[in-house]
C-alpha cells in the first residue's frame, strides 16, 4: 500500500495532464502531452543523462557541504556562548538577503562551472540545517545532562552519547527541508549562467521552442529530486526508529 499510493497519485496527475491537453487544445509547443514528453525523453536520452549528471553532482555536493557546514555552525553556536551573539545576526542577515539575488554574483565569483551552483545550494541549505540542529542541541533534557555529569561523562562523551542523539530528530527535520530545496539552488544557479546541467538544458530548449525536451529535462529533475528526498527520508526514519510513530 505504501508504494501503491504514490503510484496512484502519479497516474492521476499524468491523466489530468493528458486530459488538460486534450480538452484545451493547447498547441504542443506550449504544453506537450505526457506522450510527447516521454518520446522526447527517449530521443534525447544521452543528452539529458549528460546534463543530469552535472546537476545531480551539484545537488549532492551542495547537500553534503551545506549540511556539514550547517551542523558545524550549530555546534559552534551551542558550545561557544561567546560566539553566539556574533554569529546569530550573521545568520539572520544571510537569510534576509534573497539568495536568488546573489546568484549572478556567485556566478561572477565562482565561474560558469559547478562551483557557483554548489555555492548556491550550500547557501540555501545551510540555514535550515543550522537553525533546526541548533534548536535540537539547545533543548537537551537537563535531567540527562545531570545524569551524564554524575556519571563522570566528559564534554565529548556527553556530546556523542546524549546531546547528538537527542538532537537527531530536530536535525532530521532540517535535513529534510534542505533536501527538498537543494535542487532549487542548483537549478537557479544554472539559469543565471552555465554551460551544462538540467537547468541549462531547460533554458536552452525553451529558447529553441523544444518544449518537449524542456519538459523531459524537468521530469528528470523532478524524478531525481523525489528519489533523493525519499532516500534521505528513509535513512532518517531508520536512524530514528526508536521514536514513536505519529
Amino acid at each position: 500500500m505504501s508504494l501503491l499510493r504514490p503510484l496512484i497519485v502519479c497516474a492521476g496527475l499524468v491523466s489530468l495532464w493528458q486530459l488538460l491537453v486534450w480538452w484545451s487544445g493547447v498547441p504542443p509547443y506550449l504544453l506537450p502531452g505526457p506522450g510527447l514528453v516521454i518520446a522526447a525523453w527517449f530521443t534525447h536520452a544521452g543528452l539529458i543523462a549528460g546534463h543530469a549528471l552535472v546537476t545531480i553532482a551539484e545537488i549532492l555536493i551542495g547537500l553534503a557541504l551545506g549540511t556539514a557546514l550547517g551542523a558545524a555552525s550549530a555546534l559552534c553556536l551551542a558550545y561557544f556562548r561567546t560566539v553566539r551573539p556574533w554569529l546569530m545576526p550573521l545568520l539572520v542577515i544571510s537569510q534576509a538577503i534573497p539568495v536568488f539575488a546573489l546568484a549572478p554574483l556567485l556566478v561572477l565569483w565562482f565561474g560558469y562551472g559547478m562551483a557557483s551552483k554548489v555555492a548556491m545550494a550550500v547557501l540555501i541549505i545551510f540555514f535550515p540545517v543550522t537553525a533546526s540542529f541548533f534548536d535540537g542541541l539547545r533543548r537537551t533534557d537537563p535531567g540527562w545532562l545531570d545524569l551524564g555529569r554524575t556519571m563522570n561523562g566528559t564534554a565529548l562523551t556527553i556530546l556523542r552519547r546524549i546531546r547528538l542523539p537527542a538532537a537527531l530528530p530536530a536535525f532530521a527535520s532540517g535535513l529534510r527541508v534542505a533536501t527538498a530545496v537543494a535542487p532549487i539552488g542548483a537549478v537557479v544557479g544554472e539559469w543565471v549562467g552555465s554551460s551544462a546541467g538540467l537547468g541549462y538544458l531547460m533554458l536552452h530548449a525553451n529558447g529553441r521552442m523544444q518544449i518537449d525536451l524542456m519538459f523531459a529535462a524537468l521530469l528528470t529533475l523532478s524524478l531525481f529530486a523525489v528519489a533523493l528526498y525519499f532516500t534521505i527520508d528513509a535513512g532518517l526514519r531508520r536512524a530514528l526508529r526508536w521514536q514513536a510513530d505519529t
Binding site: D146, L147, T150, M151, G153, T157, I162
Partner: protein, 254 residues
C-alpha cells in the same frame, strides 16, 4: 541478592556543613548542616520549594553552594565521582535499548560496558526479556526498574534519589520501594520524597525540612528492618506523627 551485592563498595558517610545557598533573591539555606550516615537510608521530607532538591543537588555536585566546598565524605575525600543519581523522571534515553540505557555510565566514561552484569541485574528485576526493547514500549514501573538497575550499575557507595517513585501508581510504588530497599542495602542513600509512608518504609533516619532559610529537624528513627510493612501499627502511629510535623512545617512556611 547477596551475590549481586557482593561488589558494592564499603559504606561511606557524607556531610554537608555550613551550606549557604541563595535562590531567586532569598536565602534557601544559611549555614545548613546535614549528615548521611554510612550504609543508612536518610529520607528528606518537607513542603514544596523548601530546598530539598537543591540540597540533593549539592550532594550530587550538580549545584555549588556559595563559598567553599561544603560536601565531604567520611574518609575526608571529595564526593565527586562517588554518587549515583536517580530522579523522578526515569531519564531513560529513548534512542537506547533497555540494556544500553543500563550501561550508559560506562559509555560516558569511555569504559567497556559490563553487559553480563547488566543482564544479571535486569534478570533479577524480571526485565531480562525486555533488554533489547526501546523504553517507549515499557510501562512506568518497568522504566523505573530500568533506571534503578542503571543506578546500581554505577556501583557507587552513595545513592541520591529525588522522588524516584512519585510518578508511579500505589501498588507499583510499594513494589519498587521493596526492590530498591533490597538492591541498595548497605549503601548510603538520600531519598527526597513527598510521601510520609515511603519515608517510613525505607528510612533509617527521616528529616523534615522547613523554614526560610531552611532547617532540618531532629531525625525520626523508626525501628526495624526495611522495607517495613505498610500495615504495621507502629508505622501508622509514626506516620501520624510525621504528618503532624509536616503540617507544622507547612504552617511555618506560611
Amino acid at each position: 541478592m547477596s551475590q549481586l551485592d557482593a561488589s558494592s563498595s564499603a559504606s561511606l558517610s557524607a556531610h554537608i556543613s555550613g551550606a549557604t545557598l541563595g535562590f531567586a533573591g532569598r536565602a534557601l539555606f544559611d549555614g545548613l548542616d546535614m549528615t548521611l550516615e554510612a550504609g543508612r537510608w536518610t529520607c528528606l521530607l518537607g513542603p514544596t520549594g523548601v530546598g530539598k532538591t537543591s540540597l540533593l543537588r549539592l550532594f550530587a555536585g550538580l549545584a555549588a553552594a556559595d563559598g567553599n566546598r561544603v560536601v565531604t565524605c567520611g574518609d575526608g575525600e571529595p564526593i565527586a565521582g562517588r554518587v549515583a543519581y536517580m530522579a523522578q523522571q526515569d531519564l531513560l534515553m529513548p534512542w537506547l535499548t533497555v540494556i544500553e540505557n543500563v550501561v550508559i555510565g560506562s559509555r560516558l566514561r569511555g569504559a567497556r560496558p559490563a553487559y553480563e552484569r547488566a543482564r544479571e541485574l535486569l534478570d533479577s528485576v524480571g526485565l531480562a526479556d525486555r533488554a533489547d526493547d526501546y523504553p517507549r514500549v515499557l510501562s512506568g514501573g518497568m522504566r523505573q526498574r530500568t533506571a534503578l538497575i542503571r543506578t546500581l550499575m554505577e556501583d557507587r557507595p552513595i545513592v541520591l534519589m529525588d522522588e524516584p517513585f512519585s510518578a508511579l501508581d500505589a501498588i507499583t510504588r510499594l513494589r519498587l520501594q521493596s526492590l530498591a530497599a533490597e538492591l541498595l542495602r548497605g549503601r548510603t542513600v538520600l531519598l527526597v520524597t513527598h510521601d510520609p509512608l515511603e519515608a517510613l518504609r525505607l528510612g533509617d533516619r527521616i528529616h523534615v525540612m522547613a523554614g526560610s532559610p531552611a532547617r532540618l529537624d531532629e531525625a525520626m528513627t523508626p525501628a526495624g528492618a526495611t522495607p517495613r510493612d505498610p500495615a504495621d501499627r507502629a508505622l501508622l502511629v509514626l506516620q501520624a506523627e510525621l504528618l503532624a510535623r509536616l503540617a507544622a512545617a507547612d504552617g511555618s512556611e506560611g
